[in-house]
């Protein structure tokens, strides 16, 4: 019994070590979306380019889509823009934009100047769809399957590494299952 007690500190150190080690490298600011496995929330919002056209959740039916949340007020969105252009042009990825809490003029100027990687852009000046999607900071990128169900949410910029290591595997997985 006495001898066992001598090993107690070692045991405690090991357990604490394992628990703490498991936390290394985890970014606490990246939260898993509550919407994973649920369909895209219902919405009815204007198209950024054509204010007369209303867009809704049927936009996500039929093919795997990336939904990219952006705004001209968001510096990180500018960082990822070239990569989104690369994805749309080189990789042929189907990207839908969600212009979040922005104004139309600025957004159109931005797309004019930097290029438009989006098949369609949803104009959400008051952030209602963003709120329903649980967006808490742009940029965020959702992977949505052909049935309109959210499969993954990436918080932060998309770049080549994120694409290859995170988004592409999810998309391949979604395609494989669908």
């Amino acid at each position: 019994m006495k001898r066992f007690l001598l090993f107690l500190p070692l045991l405690i150190a090991l357990v604490v070590g394992v628990v703490l080690f498991a936390g290394i490298g985890k970014d606490p600011t990246k939260l898993e979306s509550a919407l994973v496995g649920k369909p895209v929330p219902e919405f009815s919002l204007k198209d950024l380019h054509n204010p007369e056209t209303m867009l809704d959740q049927s936009l996500f039916q039929g093919q795997v889509t990336l939904l990219n949340v952006w705004g001209t007020w968001c510096p990180a969105c500018k960082d990822e823009h070239d990569d989104l252009m690369w994805l749309a042009e080189e990789k042929g990825v189907n990207i839908i934009g969600l212009n979040y809490k922005d104004n139309r003029e600025d957004a159109l100027v931005w797309l004019d100047r930097l290029g438009d990687p989006y098949r369609k852009t949803i104009y959400d000046p008051r952030g209602t769809l963003g709120f329903d999607l649980g967006v808490y900071g742009a940029p965020e990128t959702f992977v949505i399957d052909a049935g309109g169900v959210v499969r993954y949410r990436h918080v932060g910029v998309v770049n080549e590494t994120v694409w290859e290591q995170t988004l592409l595997p999810v998309i391949n997985d979604v395609r494989g299952n669908g």
Partner: protein
Amino acid sequence: MVRIVCLVLALLLPALATADVADVYDFSDRAQEQRYQNLIAELRCPKCQNQNIADSNAPISKDMRDVVYRMMKDGASNEEIVESLVGRFGEFVRYKPEFDSRTFLLWATPAIAVFGGLLVVAGVVIRSRRVGQESPALSAEEKARVDKMLTDEDKPS
């Protein structure tokens, strides 16, 4: 007269200050406002990690406060309001997570720690009692020696 006016104005100043803190929302009564304050105090801001939405200036917290207020006005219960936010932002926004298989350890740790502490205390007490019984007080001969020593010490040498 001027003095009285000044005094009255001075007395009104604190009222102004509290009016500023109480946001821009209108409540029918004090209880409603208190309910609102409790709700926003126990909801966590997803953007700023360790602030509740009452404290946070992040735009998302403002949106969340708006939704809490609107849902309250529409007659939603506290559970409905919290559930609707959890449905969007995840379990993270709850400062008091539900008791389920994932949060079991979180809730049980204090009880486990107290129980463990009690076990240790009980162990120490039992062991000291046992030691006390095994080596009882001094034998008569030893006692006599101790008494002698003590009395000797009292005498000046």
